[in-house]
Assembly symmetry: C2
């Protein structure tokens, strides 16, 4: 059965459900009801009930709830964690290098297969056992050859739009953007922004403001 | 002059202003008005005008605008980018190791001075030229000795709350949490959550949903 599209808030709660479900499973539980999940996460029961109904491929059993193993599988399918997508990474600087070495993305269904950079000293080398190519080689043909669907942008802000344009031209479907800048892309390309600097700035600002208040 | 506290949305726009201002500065501009900033970022002029007024330490000059170099300095001060805070990192796994090697956080005012892990094979070693200690050594005394104000959590979800409790006990002021779980901490401790898996899941889900629609 085709399900209705989840809202962004629903989607953001799924990794939390997944975490609780895996915890319950490791404690030997086989089934769970929405009230238990709601209690574990300090959420409203009605909200959790609706979320779980939206993502479940099996019906629950009254007074017993739903199978935990099935719920885990349903959520992992929706989050794309149990199918691997190939990704390329553009910008083999400090963060890009760290990501090429990082193995953890595969747990979330993402496999970085190659890096691209404009630095001629890097192209032809390997970083984290992955080949690094010159950005001039970032073409539709190369993307097809690598079977990549996602482009990760780890260049500085001023270079991000040019990289995004190149990725769009090369027919990449989704962009995971770590550069601190809004990207203009056609509607058929999906962008998810994540900004480490902004997240850190929120923390620094709160600390700064609190210490100011205390002085 | 003490300024009113910025809203979360205002704070999130500051790194974008910073990026545009640095671009304009590198193109030789000395002053800027809110309309130019608004146009560059596709934002409403009135919104930008208010944001800039909230963060500026100098007044603008009619028809000329504000000094770019001063605006950059004001924003960097608020974001904490031009004063370095020491941080410790707990969880020297795949992501933690990548972060211990990553130099880029210092551009945002964060210096990781040590790692902590429960794996006895890691304690006493160095990762990214930083010492790694056993979590049992994560005490108030050690935090003082390292002059650390921020704790970065890069352990798996199930271990995050225990680590947070330890950080709170050791009198850490702020927590940057990369684990996919909500942390319960006292009101005087500030938490900023960032979840790579969730951000990636948003992208994967949009791709999955679009491809479903096309099939």
């Amino acid at each position: 059965m085709r399900k209705a599209k989840l809202t962004k808030n629903q989607l953001h709660r799924l990794p939390e459900y997944l975490w609780v479900l895996k915890n319950l499973e490791s404690n030997g539980l086989k089934t769970v009801n929405s009230q238990t999940l709601a209690d574990c996460l300090d959420l409203n029961n009605e909200l959790v009930r609706k979320d779980i109904a939206s993502i479940s491929t099996e019906n629950g059993v009254p007074n017993k709830g739903r199978k935990i193993v099935q719920l885990i599988s349903d959520i992992e399918t929706i989050l794309g964690f149990n199918t691997i997508s190939n990704a390329i990474l553009v910008g083999v600087g400090s963060l890009g290098t760290a990501f090429l070495h990082y193995k953890g993305f595969e747990d979330f269904g993402l496999k970085i297969v190659a890096g691209f950079d404009s630095n001629p000293l890097l192209s032809g080398k390997e970083v984290g056992n992955k080949p690094v190519y010159d950005v001039s080689e970032l073409t539709e043909e190369k993307i097809k050859e690598l079977n990549a669907h996602i482009g990760i942008i780890t260049v500085p802000g001023y270079a991000a739009q040019v990289v995004a344009d190149t990725l769009v031209k090369a027919k990449i479907q989704g962009i995971w953007n770590f550069a601190p800048t809004k990207l203009n892309v056609p509607d058929n390309v999906i962008v998810s922004n994540i900004n480490l600097a902004t997240s850190l700035a929120v923390l620094s600002y709160e600390l700064y403001f609190r210490n100011e208040k205390e002085n």
